[in-house]
Amino acid sequence: MNATAPPPARRQIQTPQPPATPFPYNPGSLLSVMDLDLPSIGHLLARATALENQDLLTRDRILLKRRIALLFYESSTRTRTSFELAAKSLGADTTLVSSLSSSIEKGETLKDTGLTLRALGAEAIIIRHNSSGAPWLLEQETRLPILNAGDGMHEHPTQALLDLRTILNHLDPASKTIVVERAAEGSQSDPRSQTVIPSEARAASAVEEPAVSSSILSGVTVTITGDILHSRVARSNMLLLPRLGARVILCGPTQLLPDSAANAGPGITVERDFESALRQSQVVMMLRIQAERLAGLQIDLAQYKDAYQLTGQRLANHAPKALVMHPGPIIRGLELTAGVADGPQSAILEQVRHGVAIRMAVVERALTAQAKKEGRA
């Protein structure tokens, strides 16, 4: 055999290209974090801050008596309540339709439910659904602004935005490092101080707050640990954070984190060794094992905790300065210990608080972006 002989030529062939996606149809919709370009993300963050600081009596004129439906096929505490509070803070009327107390139980389809809500005057629908992609179907059929409040194992874009706001709140723009202490002031039990102090802190630093850019989080490594496979929070975060310059490490056992996850987008790596991941991280995001989605998958919990539970000791040994986040609900003593959840590095309740501000901005965008479109027509 001649060693210099070229390898057999593989056919270079032209094949049909996938069609361009028409989504989102409605400019007010937020289906995926990929629907937002960097300027839109910056605008949403700025609006969140402005709305949070706005006088209550003028804020509730913004969407006065506009009708927003919450369509929930899955249970929810944080997301549902914060969307509802956000919409009401802007003056909108909200109505909740949940799968267990509606005609969905009688077999009404998502399409028909959406058309019915539209006929009832809903101007936007906030949907949580157990099937991945359901918000796309709802948007296609109703053409209303649709806000994805979590679809199956797919995306949870407002969670990623509020996580981003939490991380940025701890970013020291000068050194480009994450500073845990900034949060500590906001995590006391007095709810009044919780809402006031961080916004004041932000308002004070608003001038030097850098604009959202593709490098604002450069140098920041975020580890997402746990049940990545079934997590929509993980997917939205791994698609969003690298676009702002962050490095995302996914960590977990093969059963809950397939190798192919690293191909979901740029800036994502898979690391099986939790402690090694911790040592590289400024932010540690813990996830719950989603028992309701395991579909027969057997997880040895003792083994899991042994390898992946975030304990006080692990945190102290490997990531003593990292910010600890969790989208909730947390299961104390499983993915993290109670001590870590309540500890000084925890930003879990701060995340919840950011949820209301972010969702005000997203709800405002849903209805005002539509008004602009109608104005053009």
């Binding site: 056919r11 062939i13 032209q14 094949t15 049909p16 996938p18 069609p19 996606t21 989504f23 389809t109 998502l110 399409k111 659904h129 099937s131 991945s132 992609g133 359901a134 796309w136 179907l137 059929e141 679809d151 199956g152 194992m153 797919h154 995306e155 496979l229 929509r232 997917r235 397939p258 192919s260 996850a261 191909n263 979901a264 987008g265 579909a295 027969g296």
Partner: protein, 439 residues
């Protein structure tokens, strides 16, 4: 019955080795004569009552044969009927279709097989029922294959409920061989695909959907080939339906090299589309087997070009629009295919990837006919059935699902450019389809 004379066309009949300008006389449902242009005289050898079809500039070929369609009758007439499905077949140039048994009830008896073949069904082209391999397609109790064959079945399969138990599959292969029937297997180890709705891989991960691993297909193909090997009976014929993965094709290739009677088909969507075409949960890109990776798709193209693939089959699977307008995970599997197969094969296999026209037509007629032993089909040799497709091989056109003759509109090829427009489809000497706007 009218006598038809197709004049001035270019005849391509791969089975007979013909690729030349010819006139064809069709009489009493059979091919009566083939001669050089102008040699068949009206009032002479054609007789006085002859209808002349002018095929100048057109290709004349054996009617196409699709060995994998779902006509949905009995039991699911809201999706498709034998009449509407075969009308779509005729519009697509097909003159014979083999109908899968996953009807309601399952076609596991001579009674249902005969019901499907009854003239009351209004079939526009020839229907060949495929019988269920096991009672109710439950994979437990093998049917009476001799009785099914006598009633008209041309093969047996449990289609979407593949036979997982080794002993049942072994017995199915042996029993079918004894009566001269092929066993068609939809290769999917359903123990590995529970709750899955697309191909396993990065795209499924991204979309948050559970995936069907390629091994679920190739593993069962390898198991079936092992069973064929062990049976050591030259009459055993295993046909692998809608092959979609590189590993499955490799297994078939190896089995053939070892002299086994193992054949396979590929559907147009599996040599054209990939999992990327699922896009944002397009339920018209959901089928089983699912659209696979680009590497698998390329392997299908290679296998077609180098001859491992025996047939192009559409897996025409009509569904009502409302059934597909649901959450991706809840949508039924399948897309229509009868009206788009020829146009896609000519546009891509022939024009783009340079597979000679005769080979393309062979994959769509002579080879599937030989595979299932459909006598007198897939060729236009004198004495064969007068099953003919006449088409303009150069015509480019756009497929619109709304204009379909099927009851269903579930196709990912709506708005696609096709090449090769069917002018006439003739089934056993009758014009089953004539283009409404001849140029």
């Amino acid at each position: 019955m009218t006598t038809l004379l197709i004049r001035n066309g270019h005849l391509i009949d791969p089975a007979a080795g013909v690729d030349a300008p010819k006139d064809i006389l069709l009489k009493d449902g059979r091919v009566a004569e083939i001669a050089s242009p102008g040699k068949i005289k009206v009032n002479g050898n054609a007789g006085p009552d002859v209808q002349i079809l002018d095929a100048t500039g057109l290709t004349v070929a054996p009617g196409l044969i699709d060995i994998h369609v779902h006509l949905r009758e009995p039991g699911q007439a809201h999706k498709e009927t034998i009449a509407t499905g075969t009308a779509a077949a005729a519009a697509g140039g097909f003159t014979a279709v083999a109908a899968m048994p996953n009807t309601n009830p399952v076609n596991d008896s001579p009674e249902i097989t005969r019901w499907m073949l009854a003239p009351e069904r209004g079939a526009a082209v020839r229907v060949y029922p495929i019988g269920a391999a096991t009672r109710g397609s439950k994979g437990e109790q093998i049917n009476d294959f001799a009785a099914l064959k006598a009633a008209g079945a041309v093969a047996v399969t449990d289609d979407g409920h593949p036979i997982l138990k080794d002993n049942i599959m072994r017995e199915t292969l042996a029993a079918a061989a004894r009566v001269g029937l092929s066993v068609i297997q939809h290769a999917e180890d359903t123990r590995m695909t529970q709750g899955a709705s697309m191909n396993a891989g990065p795209m499924a991960f991204k979309l948050g959907l559970r995936g069907m691993p390629a091994e679920a297909e190739s593993g069962l193909v390898e198991r079936d080939i092992r069973l064929v090997t062990e049976l050591k009976d030259a009459r055993v014929h295993l046909h692998v339906a809608h092959t979609s993965t590189a590993a499955a094709v490799a297994a078939v290739r190896k089995a053939r090299r070892n002299g086994l009677r193992v054949t396979c088909e590929v559907a147009p969507h599996h040599f054209l589309l990939t999992e990327e075409h699922v896009g944002q949960y397009n339920t018209n890109a959901k089928m089983n087997p699912p659209l696979r990776s680009a590497a698998d798709r390329d392997a299908m193209i290679e296998a077609i070009l180098d001859g491992v693939v025996d047939a192009i089959a559409t897996d025409h699977a009509p569904h009502a629009t409302h059934e597909k307008e649901v959450e991706f995970e809840n949508a039924p599997n399948g897309i229509t295919g009868l009206e788009t197969a020829l146009g896609l094969c000519l546009r891509w296999l022939h024009k783009e990837w340079k597979l000679p026209l005769g080979r393309v037509l062979g994959l769509l007629s002579a080879q599937p006919a030989a595979l299932l032993g459909l006598k007198g089909r897939g060729t236009l040799a004198v004495g064969s059935f007068a099953d003919v497709v006449v088409f303009d091989p150069k015509a480019e056109w756009t497929y619109h699902a709304r204009e379909t003759r099927s009851k269903a509109h579930n196709t990912p090829f709506d708005g696609w450019t096709m090449q090769g427009k069917v002018r006439w489809t003739i089934s056993e000497g009758r014009i089953a389809y004539a283009a409404t706007t001849p140029q």
